[in-house]
Symmetry: C2
Subunit: 500 residues, 2 copies
Amino acid sequence: MSVTAYEKELLDMLKKISHYEQAVNVMYWDMRTGAPKKGEEYRSEAIGQLSADVFQMRTSKRMKELLDALSAQKETLPPDTQKAVEEAKKDYELNSKIPEDEFKEYTTLTSKAESVWEKAKKASDFSLFAPYLEKIIEFKKRFITYWGYEGHPYNALLDFYEPGMTVETLDALFSELRESIVPLVQKIADSRKKPDTHFVQEHFPKEKQRELCHFFLKELGYDFEAGRLDETVHPFQITISPGDARVTTAYNESDFRSALFGTIHECGHAIYEQNIDEALSGTNLSEGASMGIHESQSLFYENFIGRHQSFWKRYFLKLKEANPEQFKGISAEAFYRAVNESKPSFIRIDADELTYPLHIMIRYEIEKAIFSGDVSVEDLPKMWNEKYEAYLGITPPDDAKGILQDVHWSGGDFGYFPSYALGYMYAAQLKSKMLEDLPEFDRLIESGDFQPIRKWLTERVHVHGKRKKPLEIMKAATGEELNVGYLIRYLEEKYTKLYL
Amino acid sequence: MSVTAYEKELLDMLKKISHYEQAVNVMYWDMRTGAPKKGEEYRSEAIGQLSADVFQMRTSKRMKELLDALSAQKETLPPDTQKAVEEAKKDYELNSKIPEDEFKEYTTLTSKAESVWEKAKKASDFSLFAPYLEKIIEFKKRFITYWGYEGHPYNALLDFYEPGMTVETLDALFSELRESIVPLVQKIADSRKKPDTHFVQEHFPKEKQRELCHFFLKELGYDFEAGRLDETVHPFQITISPGDARVTTAYNESDFRSALFGTIHECGHAIYEQNIDEALSGTNLSEGASMGIHESQSLFYENFIGRHQSFWKRYFLKLKEANPEQFKGISAEAFYRAVNESKPSFIRIDADELTYPLHIMIRYEIEKAIFSGDVSVEDLPKMWNEKYEAYLGITPPDDAKGILQDVHWSGGDFGYFPSYALGYMYAAQLKSKMLEDLPEFDRLIESGDFQPIRKWLTERVHVHGKRKKPLEIMKAATGEELNVGYLIRYLEEKYTKLYL
């Protein structure tokens, strides 16, 4: 067979995989947005079947043959195909190194573990979840030896979500960040300049919230012809296929912030997905570069736009018109201060932007300890609580508000949490560079003209899809390596102004 | 391999097919209920891919080996497996007899033909659609020779939707039906006792209609834990999987009848699907026995319950409360008469229950003529219009209101129309038998107690799924062969009372 014939076969296979993934994504989205209860079991089975078929295609003998043949003549291929081959190869190796039986056992374990975790969280009893966590960690440790790694074993997991990221890099970034944030959090705790936040927990009818969420999505440039907004228990963004990047949100009638900022956050993810180069559609490059880069886009929209003072100068009246009673006597400035309140809290997903990175660092350090064998599962709650005390000055009252709060470990997603903090660093660095090109940034936001901002991000980040690695994107977009200084400066400036 | 091993492998394969069908069904439902426009092309491709995979599984060499092995030892199999083997074999033979290339060409042709038909209908110009129709008919004629048939070639197509049905049977049934209906329609046209219908076309806000549709679905016993109601351009019922039988409806704000009776109609289909024996789940028997039997259930709900005088004795007030202005001064009796208005009309789907079978007979006779070679495509509009004049006393003013009104032919669905009329005959015969067991039928409806009616239908029809052939179901449920007399009697009694 000629190289061109091999290339065509690979691209056809990747396209077929993308069709299967579309089916899986629609089934998942539907299950979350209102599929009837009595079909749940069959739905899980169908998702399991099609996911297994995708796994099989990705690790098939034919896939290996194609990848070997194409890798041998890589330089004759178009650049996008070269990248697609690299990606598919990485994928093949990650998956095919695990014996099929073990992978099946692991999949069954994690799918059970999620419901065990749910129960344990409800009962606020870590000991219920511990045996499952122990087994998941054992599997993961074995997988790491199959995959191989350089330096710290945890690097194998980091690379999974953030290609190229290592413990060595993260340790340096996080320690710098911690050294600035922890004292700042302390100073804020001691400050007497506290915002008035009583009004955020008035009653806000769901219908009004829904209208506002639609409004803000449109304002920010979310394309409703290539997506839709629905309601779910937990908000998420899901890409069904090219031209179909959906957003969901959760409405809390006694706190408008969760739906509002949740929607703006998911909007950032979706705008990323809606602006990936169409030429990549149907290939394995038609997705975000990494979890961290994805998070940089959602956090950019949520924090740098949605929590910006200029944003509320423009839009507070809109919010007030929709809820005149609830916001009676509140000024745009007071509102801005209230939605930027910072204080230590137990739950990561409710944390403000200043304390949020500390929640991530705690998880990072614990995961690192798990995989270097420095801590046993039974000691984890103690370690968790001690770190909350050390970094945030608070001790979780129980496991539900402590170590059981996040779903990730039940699915074996170790190495995922750092992406949240990395995304934040990427976002701050991008914003700093953006200000050089768009010095009128604040004015653009105040005038509701988001197009230049979106265009800047699209050209430097979105359009590339998975063509480039995260750090390549950052280097090309900002001209330098990842630098946590931008995030530190942003937080110090903003929170000093607000509180000190 | 042992018989048991073969059996297991077949059942696993059928289950896998059902998972793929679930994926296709969710993707289709989603496309109709609000998937974003820009993802449409990818959606069609994914549906095409998974449908092709289903086709391949159904016609695979392994499928044939399994079916041959199991057929050879049929009597040792459990009864349900015997039926499943029979069904899968029929399926295999229908599909595998068509050369793959020809089938692909045909699929491409029909998917193009639908949009050509749409344009032709919009332009009301049959000549635009004629070349496509001609080719589709050529394919279908060739397929018939591949499949083989006894008697009339059209029998091969009838059997597809209504196993066991033949031209010979239908000719007899339809001529008897026509001989009673045509004079009755004429008498009604001459009658001076006409209902007042001015109020049916008031303005009815969509939101109120939606609430009422939910209300009636619940009242009639539709299980919302095993389904949901959504809005689409054309109403339909779709079964996603066991435990998930969905209904859609179309709201017309200037005529409440379409959503109301459309929903009750689809409710009948859905209640059928919701009550198929769970033991059949995941097999090829977990669906309705035939198109006609399915239609018998939807028509039973729509006409024998939804258009029953007792039904509106109970529910008219409910409707009036929701729309007090629109129904001002209207009595339950006047309402009942208005929603049972009968008069000749051009469009099948808007036809009343008395004239409806005539629309079907016209299509049946035309299709029969097409496949016996008695008419050319270019002469079809003339034939169509002449038959409308002969049976209904009206001549369609143009092609859009005549021969171009239905989508079926563009998809090659010849032989489908008779199922609508057969469903009607089945329903009337079932109802007549039901009255022996439930002589209090009218009172049950007036008291909103639909459970005994539902139970009766479930035990005799729903539960069996595809275990039995249509005529076996009728025989077992009513103790006799299909008898059009019940429908004739029902129509004569009802419409004589209303009009004469």
